[in-house]
Structure formats: C-alpha cells, structure tokens
Subunit: 544 residues, 2 copies
C-alpha cells in the first residue's frame, strides 16, 4: 500500500465535521438532505480513531466517533476544499460577489446577445445569465415583437412573479394611470415595487414599439453608487443602512407597505439590496433628529445617483428585452412626446430561479468531456459488435431507464464502457488479447464526476460477467462472440471462491444489473437516445 498523505483533521471543529458526514445514514443518498437533527448528536462528541485510507475516489480520512461509534469517511480533496477559514463562498447576492460599474466601464462590452443564439447556445445563455448576477443585467435583441413574448424570456431562467399589476404589465400612456410609469413623464432612476416585501428581484422589459421622441432608458448600478457613498460619506451610508423607510402604494384594489432601508446590508455589512424610489416614500415616523439625519443622507444619495457618469444610457428598440436585477440596478427613462407611440411589456421574476438555471447550465459544462467522448471516439465501431461504442452505451442507459432503474444505475449502464477510451491500453489491444482493465480505468475516470453509487457498478461490470458465467446456466452461451472472446482475456469464469467473494461485495447486485443491460445493448435497431437526453439525470448525480 502506498504511503498516504496525512491530514490535520484536528483543526476541524468536531460538530462541523460530524454535521458534514457524507454517509448514507446521515444524508439521504437521493435528495442529499440531512437525515439527523443537530440536537440528536452527542453533546460530548469527539474523534475516537482517525485512519487514512485509499478509497476508489482517492485518499480519504476515516473517523470513528466517540461516544456513539459512528463512522464517517471524508475524501481528502473535500477536506482540503472546505478547510475552516478558507475563502468563503456565497450566494452571489452581496456586493463582494459583483462587478461594480460606472457607465464608461461597459463601453464596448455590454452584456448583450441575440435571441436566437441565446436560445440555441447554452454557452451564450450561461454568459448572459451570469451577466445578470455579475453586472446586474443583460440585453437581448431580436426577441419577437409579440405581445406576451416577455414570458418566453422569463421562462428561459425562472418563474414569473404575479403582482397587483398582473402577471404582465404594459408600459405605455394610460388614460387613468395608477402609477407614473404609465404616463409620458420623465422618471428618474429608481427600483420597482419598493413597497413590496418580498420585492421582485428581477424585472424584464420587452420593447414592442418605440417611435416616440424621448423615452430613452437608463441604468445605474446601485451597488456601485452605495460603494461611492460609503467612501465619500460613511455617516450617510450608515444612516441609510439603519433607517427603515416606509414605502407605500395604494389604489382601488391594493394597499402595500414595506419598511426597509434604502441600502440593505447583510449581517457582515455587505450591501445586499438597494431600494430607491422617491415616488413612493411615505411618511417617516422618527424622532426629529433622526428624521433630519435621514433626509440629509437621502438627499446626498439621491444626488449621487444622478451623476451622469453613473448612468448607462440605452434606447430600447423593438425586439429588445432588458432583464435586470431589481435589488441592485436602478432604471430610468426620459420623458417622451405623449403622442408618440411607445409600448413596453414587462414582468417580474426572481434571482434565485435564474441562479439555479445558470448553475444547472454549468453542470452540463462540466460534463462536456463525457459528451465529447460519446461524440468523438465513442462513435467509432464497437470492437466486434454491430453498433458503435456510443450506441452501445446509450442503449444500455436507455434499457436501464426503461426498466425503471434508479438514476445511479441508469448512469452506470450509460457510462460502463468509458474506460475503453480512458486507460493506457486501448480497446483494440483488448481484442488482441491484452486485458485493458477498462472497468477499472472507466470507474477511475468517472470518479471525477460521480460517487461510488455510479462508479462501483462500472468497476465491477466485467467481474459480473465472470460471475454470471459461473452461476447462471446458459448465460455464457447468450453472450456475443466478442464478449466470449474477451472473457478469457479478462480472467475467465469465476472459481467458487471468487463467486463467494464477489457476491459478498456491497455493489454486486448493482453490477449484475448493469451487466445485463450491457449484454442487451448491442442491437442496431434498438432505441438509442442522444447523450443530451441523460444530461439532467447525470447532472443531478454530480458530486456536491
């Protein structure tokens, strides 16, 4: 056994370590959710024995806990990545995770894309959604100028948030407006719906008509403005973060009120939300001195927000759709001639859905090497069979799925032969009499993405053939000719001792199941879904 790296596990707080135990008793293997209460752990928890081991996925630390004897195994890579005090990650809502900007910073690099490429190319879509999180907005062009089309845009990344304005709102001049947005007046930079709590975190504006003189749009990065305020007038910044301001809206059927600061910070003092709308600030009820301090700070921030260098000017053309973070960006529009036609349609959505869509898109990115493998070398002939290697694996996955197999076995069936491309010894050499140990090299390759539930059956799928030949009458004769040939190279039919040893392995049953789908998946006429079909299933199985 090679020397294992040691790891300073004592540096980790015990409760944290135990709370992160990855075993199947502590976390539901399907949902990944924790199965125990923090209060159910022994109060006097401590490490009893610590052993460094070499697991299929790499070196690991095995802990046996006192007083309850629970056993936890932590991969070293995971411990290293999550060492206490390491760089904090976060949910991308706070200003430290953003790229703050003034208008000039975006010259020549507006986050924009055409609707067709946005829809058609996952990479473009990911870049655009990332822009909403990073810069606060994206601009799509060529979005069909149909009423209600803005919903199609929202549905690419999330869910529409219905409000008293409806699911969809029309921004045009109305005869009896309940909101200045529906007049032709100039509107200075503001966030929408500050009187709502929870506030809609994303706004979409889709331009259908813009023939009016004026009616140009502007965007201001409220986080950049807050950073400037903190730098230039820290006392004003503090006042605005600690003063809840009543925002109010009322019309015939609605009466909304939220009491929130103009600049919302998280417990660590990071800016998390800007809420600014002069039109709907209600009457503050505070001692006179606090009112005065607030108004001075409010005025300072309002003046700062109007600095021309902060405002990015845009003119929306028909087919443009602006998508922006309503907790960060302020939007504005210039006045326009009342007789000019201007018609936008808008709706609200939320950042959490968008961030989720982006994360899932990126998972697909991480599987790209596997997709390449199916498209490239895997599409070559399968050694001695009448389907290609890729077809063979896709059929195995499809059969597992059709049989109602759990996701990890569908994945195992789909990926069982990737080792033919991964090891130092190729499949062709296997056919010339040299075992390429492709079940092991495949499992090792797959461990980059998946846990043992997927990799174990792959690792054992050749052994399962040798096992079945020993225990199942007629199995050997049903094997394809090529399989019968490689059986000999791979060690031949198992001995009774080997059979007993194999059957005792925890993953034996899963490996046998994968083996049967493997054996059936060599039919040139069988259904063969594309690799993309399996992406959602595979991404859900990716290691956390």
């Amino acid at each position: 056994m090679p020397a294992l790296p040691t790891f300073p596990i004592d540096d980790f707080p015990v409760m944290w370590l135990r709370d992160n135990c990855p075993c199947a008793d502590c976390r539901d293997p399907r949902s990944g959710q924790k199965l125990f209460q923090i209060s159910a752990l022994p109060a006097a928890l401590r490490l009893d024995t610590v052993t460094h081991t070499d697991e299929a996925e790499g070196p690991a630390v095995e802990v046996i806990w006192a007083p309850d004897g629970h056993r936890s195994t932590y991969p070293l890579t995971w411990l290293e990545a999550n060492r206490p005090g390491g760089p904090a990650t976060g949910d991308r809502r706070t200003d430290d995770r953003k790229e703050l900007w003034k208008a000039g910073d975006l010259t020549g690099r507006l986050p924009q894309a055409g609707w067709d490429e946005y829809l058609g190319e996952p990479g473009v879509r990911a870049r655009m959604l990332d822009s909403v999180l990073r810069l606060g907005f994206m601009l799509l062009s060529g979005v069909p100028e149909r009423e209600g089309q803005v919903f199609d845009v929202a549905e690419t990344f999330g869910y529409v948030r219905e409000t008293n304005y409806g699911k969809l709102f029309d921004v045009r001049v109305e005869p009896d407006p309940n909101n200045l947005a529906f007049t032709s007046a100039r509107i200075t930079p503001h966030t929408d719906n500050p009187y709502r709590d929870p506030v809609p975190t994303i706004q979409l504006l889709h331009c259908l008509v813009n023939d009016a003189d004026g009616g140009d749009s502007g965007l201001v990065d409220g986080f950049a403005a807050a950073a400037l305020l903190r730098e230039e007038d820290p006392e004003a910044f503090d006042v605005l973060t600690r003063t809840p301001v009543p925002f109010v809206f009322r019309d015939a059927g609605t009466e909304l009120r939220a009491d929130r600061p103009l600049i919302g910070t998280d417990p660590l003092g990071r800016v998390r939300e800007v809420r600014f709308n002069n039109r709907s600030i209600g009457t503050l009820r505070l001692p006179a001195a606090e009112v005065e301090a607030f108004y001075a700070a409010y005025r300072t921030f309002a003046e700062l927000l109007l600095r021309p260098e902060l405002q990015l000017d845009l003119r929306l053309s028909p087919g443009d759709c602006l998508v922006f973070d309503n907790t960060r960006l302020l939007h504005a529009r210039t006045a326009f001639a009342q007789d000019g036609a201007r018609h936008l349609q808008g709706c609200y959505a939320d950042l959490d859905g968008l961030a989720s869509t982006l994360a899932v898109l990126r998972r697909a990115d991480t599987l790209e090497p596997l997709a390449q493998l199916f498209a490239g070398p895997g599409s070559a002939e399968y050694l001695g069979e009448s389907v290609s290697m890729a077809e063979h694996m896709l059929q195995a996955g499809a059969r597992a799925e059709a049989d109602g197999a759990p996701p990890h076995l569908v994945a195992g069936a789909l990926l069982h032969d990737v080792g033919h491309f991964a090891g130092a010894v190729t499949g062709h050499e296997l056919m010339s009499g040299t075992d390429n140990r492709h079940s092991h090299s495949g499992a090792d390759l797959l461990a980059r993405w998946f846990g043992p539930a997927v990799t174990d059956p792959v690792r054992l799928h050749v052994a399962a053939k040798r096992y079945l030949c020993a225990v199942e009458p007629g199995y050997h004769n049903r094997l394809s000719e090529a399989s019968q040939y490689t059986l000999r190279v791979q060690g031949g039919v198992m001995s009774p001792a080997q059979v007993a040893q194999f059957a005792a392995l925890p993953g034996a049953a899963d490996a046998v199941a994968v083996r049967r789908w493997d054996d059936e998946a060599k039919d040139p006429d069988a259904p063969t879904p594309p690799f993309e079909h399996f992406l959602p299933l595979l991404t859900a199985l990716l290691r956390g």
Copy 2:
C-alpha cells in the same frame, strides 16, 4: 372667523415637512405618488410664513416656503397624527407587531373558520387574514377536497409563487423523492425553502386524504422561540443573527443556494425572519472559532425549538387548509405508516399580497356607515320622485361612470344627496319649505372619508341647479316637479352677480357635471347597480 388652534410647526424637520406636501404639484392626485425629486428641493429650505386657516376639511396650517415660494397646506389632524417621535407604525413583518405564542396560549382560540363563512363574510375573512399576520397562521375547514383547490384559497388573498416544485406540490409518498417531504419519515419543525431567496413567505397546505396512522402536523412560533433564545442565551441569539448560513438544494433541474442567518433581524434589531431547516444546511466556511460558536448556538436553538410546550399539535382532516407565515412559523409532521393514505396539496404565496388584501377589506369596513345609509334610510321613498333616494344616488353614480367620469366625480354623483340623512333638518322638512342645506351637511359628512375633490361638487350641487336655471335656457323646465319646488326653498334662480361668483369657483364645472347626472337619475327603469359595485372606486379615494 373663529379662533384657530395653533400648532408648533417649528418642531417638524423642514425637509420632512416639505417632502410630505400634499399639493397637486407635489403628489399626483390620481396615484398619490410624489412628483418631485428630493434633490430638486432647495438645500436651504425654510418656513417663510405660517398661517392657520380653516379649510373645508377642518383647521389647517398653510406654509409658504423660502426661498422658492412654494405653498403647502397641512390639515392639523394630519400634523398631529404624524408628529415626529410619535408611535412608529410598521409593515407588520417584525416581532414587535406580532402576538407571540406557545401552544397553550391558543387553547380554545385557534384562528379557524369554515370555508363558506370565510368566503361569504368579509368580517370573517379579515379576522382570518389578520391572524396570519398576528399569530402566523389560519386554519380553514370545509375547503372542497378537490385537487388544485388550494389555488382557490391562495387567490382569496394573493398570488401563487411558482417554484421548482411547480405551482402546486403534492405531499405524499413518492417512489423517487427529491425531498424528504415526499417520504413517510418524521419531519421536525422547519421552515420551507430556506435555500430560496426571496424565500416564499406564505405556505398553504390543503389536506385531501389523511387515513394514515401518524402524519400529524405541528406548528411552532419561531418568533416566540427566538425571543426565548434572546432571553435565555443572548450570546447564542447574537451569533445566529450575525452568521450567514448556506442553505442548499439540488436535484436534476435545480441548484439553489441562499446564505442567510437562522434569525434575521431588521436594522433596529427586531426579529423579522426565522429560517430553520436542518436538512438543507450546507457546509459553513468560517474560521474555526466562529464555526464552533455557531454550532453551539445552532444546537441550543434547535433544542429550544423541540420543547413540547412550544409546539401546537394539529391533525389535518380532509378539507382542512392550513395557511401560515413561512418566515415565522416552523411546521413539523410525525412519521406515518407508509401504506396509509395521506395526501396534501400545497403551494406558496407571499405576505405582501395578504397584507394588501386585508388593508383593502378594512377600507370597506370604514365605508360601512355609508353602506348602511344606502341600505337603511336611503331605501325609503325619495321626496316626491318615483325612485328611492338610494336608487336615485346609485343611478347618478352609474350615469357618471357610463359617461367615463373620473372617480372623484363618480363618487360625487353617487353620494351627492347623503346630506338628506345627515343634517339636523330632514329631507321631509325641505319638502315642507325649510331648506335643509343638504348639500352642505352631505359634504361635511363625506369629509370624514374623502377630500375636497369629492366633497366640493357635493357641496355645490344645489348651487349648480340655481346656476343652470339662470344660464341655460330650458333647464328649469326639464327639472322634476319636486326639484322645481325645492329650488324656491333653496334660494331660487341665481342673480347675475351670483352667477359670476359661482362660475369663478374652482369646483364649479365639477358641480355642474354632478348636477346633470343628479337630474337624470330619477328613472325607475334605469340601471341601478348595488352600492358594493362602487366600493373599489370609493376605497381608492379614501383619504390617506
């Protein structure tokens, strides 16, 4: 002129006072939104002259501002109600606006109602919605046991929030659950979707079937628990308010993460949000000492939340629908026999919509005296006409509405004759030759609810008759007999001097318009909507 009370207007911060100017240049009369930027006000703003005046609505303070000469008129009642340092109001999200409870506190006073009375009686509906804000929940019974019916419940107060679980989620045992909710396991008290930001603030659970052994529900007031924690272990409370905790969820199509503290406070330290779910707490990345402090506090809070005296036990029966504040209440369920049938349907919604619905319901409460007036004395005969007084006013309102009149004129037409019931001198005495000055007593009565836009045309609608008789040939002859009779009692046809004086009044045109709808509204066959038809319009016109 009577002596006017004086008011210490100098106590008010000038920027606050000016920002609250109610004039039509400062606030859009229709939307109530502010029309100016705070930064557009003169920096060196001060009171130039202050005069106490007597307006139609009562005593007021008129301010002329320096240096810009702007004029603002503040009703004394408004100044008194909004004096700086007076009792703060708020948005009802913070713990100081709640009634905190332990299970025993609710014995015999569960906030519950039957579905039919909830739907049919606005008072019951208001009491139930208020319970959600005050206690954190309401329990409806007798909700039809139809799939999707939970949407009907949500629509009584707000909008459904769609998530990755769909618009609707089924809580029952699923073959391949992505969440423990969809198994038969016990689930300890928790809030839902802590990994979502913004988190859904309301949850609805509608019971369709509950034949299983077990599967009982429990509710814990998280704000009460947080208050206990603050009292018993202030350091633990502080740690939980200042430590952002990663909450995570992932499945095939979703990857959510929110970093929020277990106890969220507002800038004034009031508890505003509890987020607690052991299943989805991810891996904290903090220095070891902070991790240890967090785990100690987390454990203390978790143990506290499990105290039996905190948990209200409920067993949902088919037809029950539980609606609760997901930012405050934790919900739990006992384990149940996997073969027993248990099926709930749930959806999410938001508190802001519910609070708005309640506020609007309460506006209707405030109009109740007017509704009573139409239903009671107003339904009596109209003096000398072939419709009742109520029918006459409803027809006038309907005609104004049909003519596309703005809301304040529809209201004026609808309410122009309420003075017949309000004054010391009745309508019958008018018909015996004593002017009851019902236009004035009506306007005075209405000033309790409405501003001068509504009350002025009412006050002048008798004068408008006298005016039209003077200036419009044929008008007098078209009047009903009763109207011709009362004209004499009311002062007769205007003299040329009176005509000039009337025409110069700012409300003259509105009063003439109301007068014409009045004159036309005496037709027993004309459309006569019920008073409730006008409630949304009237409530929108209520004084702020």
